[in-house]
Every structure is written in structure tokens, then in C-alpha cells.
């Protein structure tokens, strides 16, 4: 680790301690639980700063993911304290176990003595070469298409949105020909319609816009 990196780690480490202390003080003062989330969020941000220099570049996204999991576990535990008695006993056990495991997971990503120990004990190796290369841009594109597909289904229903979704994905996302995209889109429509509506007699979701239009026509 270079001099600059160790300074960043040190500052981050101090930040973690400060924000954790602030959380405990605020908890003691009996402040509202939502406000308590602020020092926790800042503490996690400081943790990222502290650990980033200790992690290989290829593993940094794994570190962010592991810290994300820790944040989720803390949030879960925070929410669990809203409940009383029996309803929170088992979730508390699970929540605390989750935090311990998340911390170990974070340690396992770092190039530190603790990290090496955890890796040895749990055999928790994350070989960067085993992570298949994935373009973030491509991932966002696929997620975006999926979300648009769901919105399309919500607005226009399965029978209208499904063939359009398949057609557009193949044409724009997969670079397929118009003819092939059209055939597969129509094939999907026929399959969904025959199997679900005709054979299994389910009434598929019609969509908000389609239902509104149909209501207008009927009136």
C-alpha cells in the first residue's frame, strides 16, 4: 500500500469509529430511529474509503457488493428493533449472525492478515479469473430493457406487450433481422395465448391503458 493509500485507509478507519460513536450517542439520546440511519450510512461510506486501498482492483466491485450486504444487514437489524418480544427474537439472532458473516465476507476480499485468515478458515477464495467478464453498460442495458418490459406489461398487458418486448429486444438488443424478430415475437404471442388463455383458462393481465380503452369502448 502506498503512502497516500494508507492515509486514506487511516482517515476512513477514523471515520468509521467516529460515526459508530455518533450512532451510539444518538441511540442513547433516544432520537428517532430514522435519524439514526444517517451516521450508519456515513460510517459505511467511511468503511469503503478505509478498505478500498486494501483490495485488488479486480475485486473492488465485490467489495462494494459485500459492503452493500452489510448495509442491508444493519438496516434489517435496525428495523427488527421496532418489534417487541417474540416477534423479534429469531430475526435478531439471524440479523446479528448476518452482520458477523458480512464483516467476515468483507475481510475476505481484502489483502490483509484478517482477510487471509478468513480466506483460509472458510476457504472463501474469490479468484478474479473466475469472475466472467461482464460489461456494466450491457448489464444496465439488459436491466433497462427488462424494466421497460415490465412497465409495458403494466400499461398494455401481456398479450400486447409480450410480442412487442420480444420483437424489440431481438431487433435492437440482439441485432436480429426484422423478419426473424417478427416471427419469434408472434410465436411467443401464440404460445402464451394458447397455453395460458385457451388451454389453462387463465385470464391474463390486460394492462391499465388497455383496460381503460376497453372500458371507454364498452361505455
Amino acid at each position: 500500500m502506498s503512502g497516500g493509500s494508507s492515509t486514506r485507509s487511516l482517515a476512513g478507519g477514523i471515520g468509521v469509529v467516529v460515526f459508530l460513536a455518533a450512532y451510539l450517542v444518538m441511540l442513547g439520546m433516544g432520537l428517532h430511529r430514522t435519524i439514526l440511519l444517517a451516521p450508519l450510512a456515513l460510517g459505511l461510506a467511511a468503511l469503503v474509503c478505509a478498505l478500498k486501498p486494501m483490495v485488488e482492483v479486480e475485486k473492488q466491485s465485490a467489495l462494494y457488493f459485500a459492503i452493500g450486504i452489510l448495509a442491508f444487514m444493519i438496516f434489517f437489524l435496525h428495523e427488527t428493533y421496532e418489534f417487541k418480544g417474540k416477534e423479534r427474537n429469531f430475526p435478531l439472532i439471524i440479523g446479528y449472525a448476518g452482520i458477523v458473516l458480512s464483516l467476515l465476507d468483507i475481510a475476505s476480499v481484502t489483502e490483509t492478515v484478517a482477510g487471509r485468515f478468513v480466506t483460509r478458515f472458510f476457504g472463501a477464495t474469490l479468484d478474479p479469473s473466475e469472475i466472467k467478464p461482464r460489461e456494466v453498460r450491457r448489464e444496465l442495458l439488459v436491466f433497462g430493457v427488462m424494466v421497460l418490459g415490465v412497465i409495458g406489461i403494466w400499461l398494455f398487458g401481456f398479450l400486447i406487450a409480450s410480442p412487442i418486448f420480444v420483437f424489440l429486444w431481438m431487433l435492437l438488443g440482439g441485432g436480429k433481422s426484422v423478419k426473424l424478430s417478427l416471427y419469434v415475437g408472434l410465436g411467443t404471442f401464440v404460445f402464451v395465448y394458447l397455453l395460458f388463455e385457451q388451454i389453462l383458462s387463465y385470464e391474463l393481465y390486460r394492462g391499465e391503458v388497455t383496460t381503460w380503452i376497453m372500458d371507454m369502448i364498452w361505455e
Binding site: 416477534e87 472458510f122 427488462m146 418490459g149 406489461i153 418486448f165 429486444w169 440482439g174 404460445f191 391474463l204
Partner: protein, 509 residues
């Protein structure tokens, strides 16, 4: 004993009646075809097939549903052997050992022989596994009576730990995934306290996270996202092999019956241990065969037909074995059986001890489904090996949108609520992130399925003991289970220690 056998035969007779009905039999064949198809396409697998099939079973009679799903479960690994032999690409992980000798045989122009041997060994192995299940069911009934809430609680934890350990180098991440599965399982109405938890006022979450949309998202859609992100086709090179001399392969299995028997035995035993699964069974069977056969005619790895028979008989035999803990204790032995458990719950069949007593006919319907599906799958593979292999060349951008649409329709069809589509998409993203960062989805799924029974057992145990934790360490069966949990968690470090020791020995010599 006579009474037990009488009850067994009675249940077997009731279950057999379903198979005389043409409609029910058609569902079995449909499930078998689906399992073969998804097994043959690398990256999809049996869990995806089951997740997609669940919505189709909503309106069905529970026996038909069990036949559809059972057929699919039994046929997956047989389908996977085809792509393993023809393309050197295992359809599912347990078929990986088949590639060692299956693909060299195909390269030598003996693909038909390898497929014949693989399919026949799969069928016979599957039958042996199922017959073992039939023999074990009466004994399992006696064993489950020894279990009470503390033992069920610990058994659930042991099942999870064993499965987490089986993920190899990702134990820590598997345990985190299990914790996450439990947390998702806490959402909604709590049967113990009667309080709605973690639903944030969203009415759709009051009943908890519905298992089927969650599983559809976690396995089917997330796999499609992964496929779409990576692009291309599933298989990388064309299969230009002649499919002939299939009968020679069938004869080879009978000529090497001891290989098949040993493989089936290993598969059944390994299958019964939660989490160890078909991959371990197949590889263990293969390595045992290599050790047993000291001086082979054809070296292993260069096209020895016994190298196909051993793993294929083991990975189909494990299906029967893995249903032993699933049916008797409600502890799924694999991701596939976890999804299957979800389907059973959907049809009002609570897995666990009561199932063996109250729904024996359903258990035997499943047993017979697995038996018939093994044979049907083999016949279909023998007839349609080559066209099946071509499925692996379907482009990701054709497969992903079409499967996603069918999966979303399936998620919606569960209860006709659009919220389920959103749940499926949310779990698809979670599933994809778990694939990307190598957090095993299997422990997440099993914890999600087991969250309810685990929490209930925990409270019942604490209730029995007046809130004393001692109840978990003062009973014989509990102590055995705690020891097993500790041992299972120490296995990875023991492995590391063994590796270090052998490395230092090698260094010294």
C-alpha cells in the same frame, strides 16, 4: 411388518391408478420432455425447468402436478448427458464427469454408443434410486417420530450448513445467502406472534414473499439476464457427429453391470445427504470406477465406455436418494428439490413427517413418476439425441426474451396479481447479482423455504423448555445434530489444512 407392507401396497395401488389415466400420463410425458430439454441446454438446468413449470400446475389436480414436476426432475440429468457427450458441454453440473469419456467417444465416431450407454445407465440408476426410496419410506416414518421441535430446528440448520459446505470455496457467501433467505422468509404475517413484519404497509407483502414468483425470478429470469449480458450461443462449437450404434451402448451397460450398480449405490447414498448433490455423486462414482479398474483396456479420459456408465448411473440414482430428506423431514437436498418443495406447498402438501402419514399416495405417485420418467426420458433421448443437441445453438437474444416473457406470465398466473410480476423481477435482479458475485442461490432458496418451519420449531423448542437454551444440548439427537453442524462448518478449514500438509510433504520430498 405385515401391516406396514399392507399399507405400503395400498398406497402404491392408489398411486398406480393415476397412471392408468391418459391425461395424467400426458402430463408426465410433458414434464419429462421439458426436463430433457432444459437439461440438455447448458445454463438452464432442472431448477429453471421446475420454476417455469410451477405456474402451469395451479389449476391441476395435485397428483397431475406431482407427475409433471416429477417427470421433469427425473429427466434433467438424462438430457444433460446428451450435450455432455456431443458438445463437451455438460447440460447441468452433474453431467460434467460424463464429458471425460463421453466426448472422446463422440470424437471417435462412437457418439451413438456413448449416448446409448449414458441413457441406459441413467434409467437403471434412476430405477435403483427410486426402489431404494420405496424401501426407506417405512423406516423413515419410524425415524421422524424421534424428532421434536429442537431437533427440527437443528436439522434445518444442519441442512443449510451441509449445503453451504458443498458449495466448495464459497462457504461464507453461502451462509450469507442463507441469512438473506431467512430475512426474506420473515416478511409478512408471523404465525407465532400474529404480527405483520417488514411489509412497510405494502398489502401484497402481508402474506409474505410468495415462493413461486421469487423462485421464477431467482432462477429462470436471472439466468436469462446472465445469458443476455454475456451474449452469443450456449454451446461454442458445432456437433457434427454421427449418431449410430446406440444398441451397442445399451449392451455395454449390461456387460458392465457392476460399474452401474456401484455407481447407483454411490448416487443413492450421496443423494440422501442434504446438499452434497449430483455433481459430487457423479465425480465420486467416476473416480471410484477409475480406482476399481486398475488395468483398463482403454485408458480413462480417452473414450472408455465405463467412464460414461459410472457417472450417469450415479447422477440419476441421486434423485431417489435426495427425496428421502425432502419428503421425510421437509429439508430439501438441493435447489431443485427446494423448488419442488415450493410446488408441493402450493398444492397444500406440507412436506415433512406428516406427509408420509397423511399423503402416502402422493409420495408414491412421485415415486412412480420418477420411475416411469426415467424410462420415458431414456427412450426419448435414444430417439431424439441429435435435434436436442442443436437447441444449444439458439442465440441468447432469442432465448432470453422469450423465456423471460413466459416466466413473467407464469409469475402472474399464480394469483392474478401484478405485484407478483414485480416480485419476480426484483428477485431476478437479486439472482443475477448472486450469480455475478458468486453467492450460491441454493442456500438462499432453501432458507427461504425453511424460514417458517425453522422459526416455528425454535419457538416451540423455547416454549417447551421455558426459554432455556439447554434444550438444544441436552437431548441425544440434538447433540448429534449440533456435532454434525460443527463438523460440517470445520470441513473447509480441514481441507485447507490437508492441502497444506500434503504440499509441505511434497516440498520436503
Amino acid at each position: 411388518m405385515i401391516e406396514v407392507m399392507g399399507g405400503l401396497l395400498n398406497a402404491l395401488g392408489t398411486a398406480s391408478l393415476h397412471f392408468l389415466n391418459f391425461g395424467s400420463l400426458s402430463w408426465l410425458v410433458a414434464g419429462t420432455c421439458c426436463g430433457l430439454l432444459f437439461g440438455a441446454i447448458p445454463g438452464l438446468g432442472g431448477t429453471t425447468a421446475l420454476a417455469l413449470l410451477i405456474p402451469l400446475t395451479f389449476g391441476m389436480d395435485k397428483s397431475d402436478a406431482i407427475m409433471l414436476m416429477g417427470g421433469s426432475m427425473a429427466a434433467t440429468s438424462t438430457g444433460g448427458s446428451v450435450s455432455a457427450i456431443l458438445l463437451n458441454t455438460p447440460g447441468i453440473a452433474p453431467n460434467a464427469a460424463t464429458t471425460f469419456d463421453g466426448f472422446p467417444l463422440a470424437q471417435q465416431g462412437r457418439a451413438g454408443e456413448a449416448i446409448g450407454a449414458g441413457a441406459t445407465a441413467s434409467a437403471l440408476g434412476g430405477l435403483i434410486g427410486v426402489f431404494t426410496l420405496i424401501l426407506v419410506i417405512p423406516i423413515a416414518k419410524e425415524i421422524v417420530l424421534l424428532f421434536s421441535p429442537p431437533e427440527f430446528f437443528l436439522l434445518a440448520l444442519f441442512g443449510l450448513c451441509a449445503i453451504a459446505v458443498s458449495t466448495g470455496t464459497r462457504l461464507l457467501q453461502a451462509l450469507i445467502a442463507a441469512i438473506f433467505g431467512f430475512i426474506c422468509g420473515f416478511v409478512g404475517f408471523d404465525l407465532v406472534s400474529g404480527v405483520v413484519r417488514y411489509s412497510y404497509g405494502v398489502e401484497a407483502l402481508w402474506d409474505g414473499i410468495k415462493l413461486v414468483p421469487a423462485l421464477i425470478g431467482l432462477f429462470a429470469i436471472s439466468q436469462m439476464i446472465d445469458l443476455a449480458v454475456q451474449g452469443g450461443t450456449i454451446a461454442s462449437h458445432a456437433a457434427e457427429f454421427k449418431i449410430q450404434r446406440i444398441s451397442a451402448g445399451i449392451r455395454a451397460v449390461f456387460a458392465n453391470w457392476s460399474t452401474m450398480l456401484v455407481g447407483s449405490g454411490i448416487g443413492t447414498f450421496i443423494g440422501a445427504v442434504p446438499g452434497v448433490g449430483g455433481t459430487v455423486a457423479a465425480f465420486l462414482s467416476y473416480s471410484t470406477q477409475v480406482q476399481r479398474d486398475g488395468n483398463p483396456d482403454v485408458p480413462y479420459g480417452r473414450g472408455n465406455i465405463k467412464g460414461v456408465i459410472a457417472p450417469e448411473s450415479a447422477n440419476n440414482a441421486k434423485d431417489g436418494g435426495s427425496l428421502i430428506p425432502t419428503l421425510a423431514f421437509g429439508i430439501p437436498g438441493s435447489a431443485e428439490t427446494a423448488v419442488f418443495l415450493g410446488a408441493m406447498v402450493l398444492h397444500g402438501l406440507e412436506p415433512g413427517p406428516r406427509l408420509l402419514f397423511d399423503h402416502e399416495d402422493v409420495v408414491f405417485t412421485l415415486v412412480l413418476s420418477l420411475t416411469i420418467a426415467c424410462v420415458v426420458a431414456t427412450l426419448i433421448v435414444l430417439a431424439l439425441a441429435k435435434p436436442m443437441a442443436y437447441l444449444t445453438y439458439v442465440d441468447a437474444h432469442i432465448l432470453a426474451p422469450t423465456v423471460t416473457v413466459v416466466a413473467l406470465v407464469g409469475a402472474y398466473a399464480l394469483q392474478g396479481e401484478f405485484g407478483d410480476v414485480v416480485v419476480a423481477m426484483a428477485f431476478a435482479v437479486i439472482g443475477y447479482l448472486m450469480i455475478r458475485y458468486q453467492y450460491p442461490r441454493i442456500t438462499f432458496t432453501i432458507a427461504l423455504v425453511l424460514a417458517d418451519i425453522t422459526e416455528r420449531s425454535f419457538f416451540q423448542a423455547m416454549g417447551i423448555s421455558d426459554d432455556s437454551w439447554a434444550i438444544f444440548v441436552t437431548r441425544d439427537v440434538s447433540l448429534i445434530l449440533i456435532s454434525l453442524i460443527v463438523i460440517s462448518l470445520l470441513i473447509p478449514s480441514f481441507r485447507v489444512w490437508l492441502r497444506k500438509r500434503s504440499a509441505s510433504k511434497r516440498g520436503a520430498s
